[in-house]
């Protein structure tokens, strides 16, 4: 039974863990710990939400705890003043999943966390502040910074792509 549950959700959850962990090895550590929690506390699942959502939440919380234990989420309370680059004209259709994962994993841990929680998981900054024990403003500024870094990566890759096309 446990094996069936694992096989059903392991791929999705592995992708979740990879977004939060800097390496595959650490992602598997997180996933192992999180699945043990899932099987241990499966009796507490109240069926008030989809099971996948409940498992995903455990994965995210375990990842946060894992990185917090490594002091990777230590944040400076300096507000990072980053200009909001409002270039919404790009598309990610040309990028593979591995490329997108590489971009996210290249972010600093605190930026990666905030970006994952806000952009992908859908938490708002108040909730993220409570989860990471930071202020809402800090969450916003760190997210802006992460967003700017990713936009920069995407812009550079697009420029490189155009130059390669023109030159060819």
């Amino acid at each position: 039974m446990q094996r069936l549950l694992y096989e059903q959700y392991s791929k999705k959850m592995m992708a979740v863990c990879l977004r939060y962990a800097p390496t595959t090895f650490e992602a598997e550590d997180i996933m192992q710990e999180a699945f043990v929690k899932v099987f241990t506390h499966i009796g507490k699942f109240k069926r008030d939400c989809p099971l996948e959502f409940w498992i995903r939440k455990i994965m995210v919380n375990t990842a946060l705890k894992h990185l917090r234990g490594k002091q990777l989420l230590t944040v400076s309370h300096e507000a990072d003043e980053v200009n909001n680059l409002a270039s919404d004209s790009f598309s990610l259709t040309g990028y593979s999943l591995d490329e997108l994962l590489s971009m996210i994993q290249s972010l600093a841990p605190r930026y990666r966390m905030v970006f994952n929680l806000y952009a992908i998981e859908g938490y708002n900054h108040k909730e993220i502040g409570e989860m990471l024990d930071i202020s809402e403003g800090t969450s916003k500024s760190q997210y802006s910074r992460a967003r700017a870094i990713l936009q920069g990566m995407i812009s550079r890759q697009e420029n490189n792509f155009r130059e390669n096309v023109i030159s060819s």
């Binding site: 446990q2 094996r3 694992y6 791929k11 992708a15 996933m31 043990v36 994962l101 992908i120």
Partner: protein, 571 residues
């Protein structure tokens, strides 16, 4: 997961979410093996925790059994071999019966009676025979009635004839009428107050008996094994080497012990690591609470419970209606009528003026937490239950003999309660005297062994509520009927004496209330408590005419608890 405030997501967020939220990536093949192994280790750790719990539960049960066994051994081993029925009255002259009380006046009166009866022969053919059953004539000295009356206090003695002063012999047989049956008389003899040598030493004997029993139990091999937490291991570790044993055996033994210790330490370290991992797996705040609960499974407590005790013993409606044929009948019918009137008045006075008295209980309890909120409690306690009444009458019982035409008194004067609880009618005559009002206290001292369950729930940060129920076995140590008047005889039954009261009683206890945690391990509780006994106070309720109910107490329970093992505040 998202919220209403999440409304400023741009193209980048949407693109990443669409691509990444449901993305999949295959984990390595051996990841499931690692998870499966972790689960196995965790389950074995939980099994070990459960084993520890069951061991502690078994230890609690063993402790309770030892306690109950000790109490039972004392109770059944310390009781006198010959149980003399209450109604069995030795027909010896009054002077030969040593009074239970140390009232010197009474003793002197008895001695005087003895002197007055000098030369008189006393036949004792029916010794140890229930008088009410055999009805054998009892020979007394010719002046026995006068001698008996000598035992009445001087004030009363000088008041004879009774009709003038309120003291009157009550005939139990109105020979002239002959219409009333002998069996209608059921008046207590209260002979159980006869003093026994060494009765004053009974508390000392009690403690010695308990100590001896516990020492015997502790000295038995089984008890020694139970006393050690891990008998096998301790026996091995503590065993002395056999002289002449081969050295290689010693070496192997030492190596095996070292390996066992090492494995045990490794298992402990592993279990500790696992428990930390599991605790961290859940929400952190919650795991701390559970950790706190795990630490404080044992607790000790002391309780003080002041209460009011309702003994629920009434007075029979018809105590005196006729007399036996063997007794005297007074010639004066008005005397009989006045006696009946006094008896009726004494009964009404008892019914109206008997109230619950201040009682208390002191208990020392050990608690064992069965679950997060459920606790098993047991211990040892002392109960003193008291009821009180007022009386304006004294009653004295006499033996009568038709042949000799004499009376002898049984005990000193008492209030109406004492004769009313006797299971067998054993007197032929009563002397009822009206006296100034005096107070009577009925005191019952018990050793109690309670066992119960208590459920606790949080009310706030440091406050909690509790509700508990249980049973207790109560061993009657002493019963005393104390009168404030000096001329009314006190009645006292010690644990080893024959008594009309039940010596072993079960009760049910219910309590509820609130508690406050004063420190990490210390808490106090306060709440009402009801203790209801499962049987009447009297040992033979069927053979007693007195109306009876099951006694109960209502009071407060104040307890101080100390959690062992450094329990945290949260429960």
């Amino acid at each position: 997961m998202s919220s209403a405030a999440n409304d400023k997501r741009g193209k980048l967020e949407e693109e990443f979410r669409n691509r990444m939220y449901d993305a999949e990536s295959s984990p390595s093949q051996h990841l499931w093996s690692r998870i499966d192994h972790s689960l196995t280790v965790q389950e074995s750790g939980e099994y070990k925790k459960r084993m520890v719990f069951y061991r502690q539960l078994a230890a609690a049960c063993v402790a309770l059994l030892i306690l109950a066994g000790g109490a039972g051994a004392y109770y059944f081993g310390g009781a006198p071999a010959t149980q003399q029925p209450l109604a069995t009255v030795s027909p010896a002259p009054a002077a030969t019966v040593a009074p239970a009380s140390s009232d010197k006046t009474a003793q002197q009166a008895e001695a005087t009676a003895m002197a007055a009866a000098k030369g008189a022969t006393v036949a004792e053919p029916a010794a140890e025979t229930p008088v009410g059953a055999s009805r054998q004539p009892i020979a007394h000295s010719g002046s026995a009635l006068a001698n008996a009356l000598l035992t009445v206090p001087q004030r009363e003695k000088s008041a004879i004839p009774a009709a003038e002063t309120g003291i009157m012999p009550v005939p139990l047989d109105e020979a002239g009428s002959g219409t009333l049956a002998v069996s209608s008389l059921r008046i207590a003899a209260a002979r159980a107050t006869s003093a026994r040598p060494g009765a004053a030493e009974s508390p000392l004997r009690l403690y010695k008996s308990i100590s001896r029993t516990l020492a015997m139990m502790a000295g038995s091999p089984g008890a020694a094994a139970l006393g050690s937490g891990t008998p096998g291991r301790q026996t091995m570790a503590g065993s002395t080497p056999v002289p002449g044993a081969p050295d290689d055996f010693k070496t192997q033994n030492a190596q095996a012990m070292a390996r066992a210790r090492q494995q045990e330490e490794e298992q402990k370290a592993l279990a500790l690591a696992r428990s930390e991992a599991v605790a961290a797996a859940a929400v952190p705040k919650k795991s701390e609470k559970e950790e706190g609960r795990e630490k404080g499974r044992w607790s000790l407590g002391m309780a003080y419970a002041p209460s009011y005790f309702e003994q629920n013993i009434g007075i029979p409606n018809q105590m005196v209606s006729a007399s036996s044929r063997q007794s005297f009948s007074l010639a004066d019918p008005s005397t009989t009528a006045m006696s009946s009137l006094y008896i009726d008045q004494a009964r009404e006075e008892y019914e109206e003026n008997t109230d619950p008295g201040f009682s208390y209980g002191v208990e020392v309890k050990a608690g064992f937490r069965l679950g997060k909120k459920l606790k098993l409690l047991t211990g040892l306690g002392f109960l003193q239950n008291t009821a009180r009444s007022k009386s304006s009458y004294t009653i004295q019982q006499f033996w009568g003999n038709t042949f000799s035409g004499t009376y002898s008194n049984t005990n000193g004067p008492s209030n109406i309660f004492v004769p009313s609880i006797s299971p067998e009618f054993a007197t032929d005559s009563l002397v009822v005297a009206k006296t100034p009002e005096y107070k009577v206290n009925y005191r019952y001292r018990n050793l109690t062994v309670p066992v119960g369950l208590q459920y606790e729930g949080n009310m706030g940060k440091d406050w909690f509520w509790y509700g508990g129920a249980g049973v207790a076995v109560n061993i009657l140590l002493q019963t005393t009927v104390l009168a404030s008047a000096s001329d009314v005889k006190d009645v006292k039954y010690d644990v080893n004496e024959n008594s009309p009261f039940r010596k072993l009683q079960w009760s049910g206890n219910v309590s509820a209330g609130v508690g406050k945690r004063l420190a990490n391990s210390v808490s106090v509780t306060l709440g009402p408590q009801v203790r209801h006994y499962f049987s009447t106070l009297l040992a033979d309720p069927e053979g007693t005419q007195a109306s009876q109910g099951k006694p109960y107490t209502i009071g407060l329970n104040m307890a101080l608890n100390y959690d062992l093992g450094g329990a945290k505040k949260s429960r």
